[in-house]
Each structure stands twice: as C-alpha cells, then as structure tokens.
C-alpha cells in the first residue's frame, strides 16, 4: 500500500501583530491510501491546522507536505486550488453549505468549479444525494434540513469530483448520536469503496471505527 499523504517536519505558526502562535511544532506522518484514520486530541492543540495542511488549504511555515508524489507545500496557489477541487473532499463542523442554495445546487457547485458541464452536474448530484439518502431533499435549502442532513449533503458535495481523500473536521461534532451513527455508516461505506478517510474528532464513537488513531498534543504527534 502507498502513502497518499505524507508530512516531513511540518510546522505552522500564525503571526498576528507581535504575537506568534505556534499551532504545529514538528509533525512527520504518513497516511496510507484507503485507510480510515482519526485525529484526536485536546482542543486548541493543532488538529484543524494539521488537517488544513494535509488538504492543501494552508501552507506550512516549515517542512514539507505531500499528496501522492506532489509536494503541495510548494506548488502555486491556483494549482493548489485545482488539487483541492479534484483530489480532496472537505467537510467542516458547521456552516458547510451555501445558505442561499438548495441541497442539489450545493452539490453541483463543487462540479461547476471543476468545469463539469451543467447537465452532467445535475445527473451526478442526483446520484450523490441518493447515495447519502437525501434524494427527496434535493430542493431543500440548508435551513430546511436537520444538522445531520446538512452534514450528509456536505459529504455528497465532498464526493462530487470523486476525490481520493475525504478530510473531515469534527463532522459529527454538532450531531446527536442517531445522526452521528448515520453519518459514520456512510463514511464506512465510502471507506470500503476505497476512499482515504481522515477525521478530526472528539467523539469516542467515531474513534472506535477508525483503523488508526493519531494523537495530537501541543502541536506534536504523540506516538
């Protein structure tokens, strides 16, 4: 099996004015293609920052980040954006959806950004919503959906361009246990279909399903 994600001494610090906050100190890790990985750790210790780095949403201040063979910490912004669109699907804790758009439009938008023609967008979006069990909610606006339904729409959208990697930052953090279980079942199905799933979580329920757990503490990975 190949490593699909790899970091070498990745570090990230934020400067705001005179104050520098170091979110990640020195992280070297590898994530296998097709694996189901959980990142856990106390709040404010750098989990989200790590997820942003490995998904190409942000760049490390030091060290290297690879997706496959590509050192994404060095490629230009526009290439990085394209790579996010094609190879990575993100789901965040809340407010994932564009509030003015319907569920199906939210799914379509990811394909629009990848240059998929209008009609094909619609066909695929219908299938994806069916996959997450929300076929009948295609025309609903986010405000008309429950928290769990919104997260499933976000997952459908993350899958829109058939990425290898799904990165989720506390996707069930806002959900009750029933909704959480539904989302987890969905993720497990996707994992079985070959997706690499990385979830940042506080939830033991989520961690139980993981093949591997990475603990982040104080900006470092505890081995």
């Amino acid at each position: 099996m190949n490593n699909i994600i790899r970091t070498e001494h990745a570090a990230k610090s934020y400067k705001s004015g005179e104050i520098t906050t170091t979110a990640l100190k020195d992280v070297s890790l590898e994530i296998l293609q097709g694996s189901f990985t959980c990142i856990i750790g106390p709040s404010g210790h750098g989990k989200s920052t790590l997820m942003h780095l490995i998904g190409g949403l942000d760049r490390p201040t030091d060290g290297k980040v690879y997706i496959g063979d590509v050192e994404i910490s060095r490629i230009p912004n526009s290439d990085l954006a394209r790579l996010r669109g094609k190879r990575v699907g993100f789901v965040f804790q809340f407010f994932n959806l564009m509030q003015g758009l319907t569920a199906i439009e939210n799914v379509e938008i990811a394909m629009m950004l990848a240059g998929v023609p209008d009609r094909e967008q619609r066909v695929r979006a219908v299938k994806l919503l069916a996959l997450v069990g929300l076929a009948e909610k295609a025309g609903a606006k986010p405000g008309q959906l429950s928290g769990g339904q919104q997260q499933r729409v976000a997952i459908a959208r993350a899958l829109a361009n058939d990425p290898d990697i799904l990165l989720m930052d506390e996707p069930t953090g806002n959900l009750d246990s029933v909704a959480e279980a539904e989302v987890l079942d969905l993720l497990q199905t996707l994992h079985r279909q070959g997706k690499t799933v990385v979830i940042v979580t506080h939830s033991d329920e989520v961690a139980k399903r993981a093949e591997r757990i990475i603990r982040v503490k104080d900006g470092l990975v505890a081995h």
């Binding site: 949403l57 942000d58 965040f92 003015g100 758009l101």
Partner: protein, 387 residues
C-alpha cells in the same frame, strides 16, 4: 449550476439591499440620462433657431451680453432700447436688408407666449413665411395678430377668433405655415400696435440684418457701430456666445449627474463590501471546493457588473421617461424654452441609450474592484475560521 446562476442567486438573496442598491444606480443613471437628453436637445435647438432667424447680423443695444443674444433665439422678453432713428440710420447704409423686432411676452390661458412686433412687409420678405390659414397683415399698422402654427394649435386659435394682449382684444388675422423654429410658437403684431400696447413708442428690441455681400460682413459691422453706437454681432458670433452660455449650464447639469452617479457607485461599493463580509465563510468553502482566487474575484465582479447592467437599463428608462414627462412642465425661461421646443423624438437616441448602459456597467465594475479584490485576497483558512 453555473457562475451566472450563482451570481444571480447571490445578488437576490437579500432582496431589500438588492432593491435599494439598484434604486441608487437607477437614480444616478436616470439623472445622467435626463441631463444628457435635455442638454443635447438644447444645443440642437440653438443651431436650429439660429438658422431659422435667417440673419447674417444682429443689432442689439450697446453693452448687451450673451444672455440678450440667447433671448433673441428663445423669444424671451427683451428691453426696447433701439430707436426708430437708429434703425433708419442703419437702413441708410447700402447693401443691407434690415428688419426690426420688438420682443415681448404675454399670456394666453395663463401660459406664457412670445409676442413679436414686426414690420409686416419687410418681415414677410425676410422670413419667407407661408400663410396657411386666413390672411396676413394688409397694412403696416393693422390691429390684429398673425399666429405661428404651433401656438395656433396649442391654444386652438383660428382666423376670426380673438386674443387678449395687454387687456386689448385683438382679432386673429391668419395662421403661418410651419417654420420649424421659434416663430411657430409666436404671436405677431404689427410694430405700431405692439409699441402702443407695450408702451414703447418708436423703440424696438433688436434688428436682424441680411447683407448682400457676405465677404464684406466685417466692414458692415464696423459701419453700423460707427453710425449708431449700437452693438452688432454676426450670426457666427451669436452662435458661439449662446453655445457658451448653454455649455456652462450643461456643465452644471453634468456635475449634478456626476455626483449622483458617484453616490450610486459608493452604494455599490457599500453593498459589495457587506456581501464580502457576510459571505466570508462561504468564500472559504468555495476555496476548499477548489475555487481559485480569480474565480472568487470574478464572482464578485460579475455581481457588481450585474448591478450596473440592470441599473443602467432601469436608469435609462426612468431618465427618458423623466425627460419626456417633465419637459413640458419646465417653467418658461431662456434655457428651458429650447427644451420645450424640441420634440421627444430627439431625446430618444439609441447611441445615448447604449452608451448610458455601458457607462453604468463600467461604473459598477470599477466600484466592484475593491470589494472583489478584498474577497479574493482572503486565504482559505482565514475565510473558513471565520464564524
């Protein structure tokens, strides 16, 4: 989903803000269009009136400025400071055809009308008028009025009717044929009758002159000045000074229009800034989904450009409607009589319409640059971490 559909959904998400911003642009472009329409027809009208006057030279009281010259073209009331003796002196110069006018105003049904005292025979020859109904003056001091075609239509006057001027009932003698100039909206009296009614015995307001030999125009100007001490201008000079006055008015109108367009532009900036702020997180989501910075920039630029196009269309419609509806109600004065005289056919001009919509779009796009740049400059993490 495509970019323009997304832009449309975004822009109409906040109905109230959308409508008020649109109203701002509509008002800005409407005032621009109204003033352009009025200002444009003003200039055309001056050219037309100068041609209709048919004079090479105009004699006016000494020390007159452009405003008096403008009054000649608009049919405004003028001082009567030129004496019969001075007219006679000018007539003594060979090679000139001289026609004096007494320029006054009266009211019919409370609407102001230009009254012109003329020497019937001389003026008829000079202006080459046609008589469409009734008869012309049959002697030099006949009591009665001859009416321009537009005025006759406007007040529904026919030969045999009477018109009251300065408290005296005068019979309508005849109606002139269409001339295309100010004369169409004028009441003509014989000079002696006009002088009696307006209490200016032996005086006139100005004289129009045609010269036999155009090459000697400059010489004639000198001769008349020396002989009478009156002011003399050529038609070209008159055109220039009158256009100068109108130009000043136009600039003032254009500045008002510019200020309202500027206010509208700030309205767009304001709205777009609010939109970038509100949608900060959505910008981050879009970036996570693979949107490049230029896509974010384009998204916001299209949104402000959309305001420009829609606002341009509504602004042009409102502006033209205002120009057409308001024009007849503008009170009579030297500048606005021109506007009143011009038909609405002149106001609606395809080039002006297209130009105004383009202008509106360009203004909106320029106004959108800064907010769009701010939106595109956000890094994904900045945008996502925002709650």
């Amino acid at each position: 989903m495509n970019l323009s559909k997304l832009v449309y959904k975004n822009i109409t998400r906040r109905r109230g803000r959308f409508l008020f911003t649109l109203l701002g642009i509509t008002i800005g472009i409407a005032s621009f269009v109204t003033f352009m329409a009025l200002g444009g027809s003003l200039k055309d009208e001056i050219h037309r009136e100068t041609a209709a006057l048919g004079a090479n030279l105009v004699v006016i009281p000494k020390g007159s400025c452009g405003y008096e010259q403008l009054s000649i073209l608009t049919g405004d009331q003028m001082p009567t400071n030129i004496s019969a003796a001075e007219i006679a002196t000018i007539r003594a110069i060979k090679g000139l055809t001289v026609v004096p006018f007494l320029a006054q105003q009266t009211a019919i049904n409370n609407k102001p009308v230009t009254v012109s005292g003329i020497e019937p025979e001389a003026t008829l020859a000079f202006k080459r008028w046609q008589i469409s109904q009734g008869a012309y003056f049959s002697n030099p001091d006949e009591t009665g009025v001859v009416i321009g075609a537009t005025a006759a239509r406007q007040f529904d006057l026919k030969p045999g009717a009477t018109v009251t001027v300065r408290g005296e009932k005068l019979p309508v003698l005849g109606i002139l044929g269409e001339t295309g100039g100010r004369d169409d909206a004028t009441l003509f009296l014989s000079l002696p009758v006009a002088q009696r009614l307006f209490k200016s015995a032996d005086k006139v307001s100005y004289a129009a002159i045609r010269v036999d030999d155009l090459a000697r125009t400059e010489g004639y100007i000198e001769k008349i000045r020396e002989a009478t001490g009156l002011g003399v201008v050529s038609d070209k000079q008159m055109l220039k000074s009158v256009l100068g006055i109108v130009g000043t008015v136009n600039i003032t109108l254009q500045m008002i229009a510019a200020v309202s367009v500027l206010a509208a532009a700030f309205g767009i900036i304001n709205t777009m800034m609010a939109a970038t702020y509100e949608r900060k997180r959505e910008i981050g989501i879009l970036q996570a989904l693979g949107a490049r910075r230029r896509t974010i920039f384009l998204l916001f630029m299209l949104e402000s450009g959309f305001y420009g196009i829609i606002g341009g269309v509504t602004g042009v419609i409102t502006g033209l409607a205002t120009a057409v509806i308001v024009t007849p109600y503008i009170s009579q004065n030297a500048f606005t009589t021109f506007v009143k005289g011009s038909g609405s056919g002149d106001i609606i001009d395809i080039k002006m319409i297209a130009g105004s919509i383009l202008f509106s779009t360009v203004v909106a796009i320029v106004a959108g640059i800064y907010p769009a740049w701010r939106a595109a400059r956000l890094t994904p993490v900045e945008a996502i971490s925002y709650e």
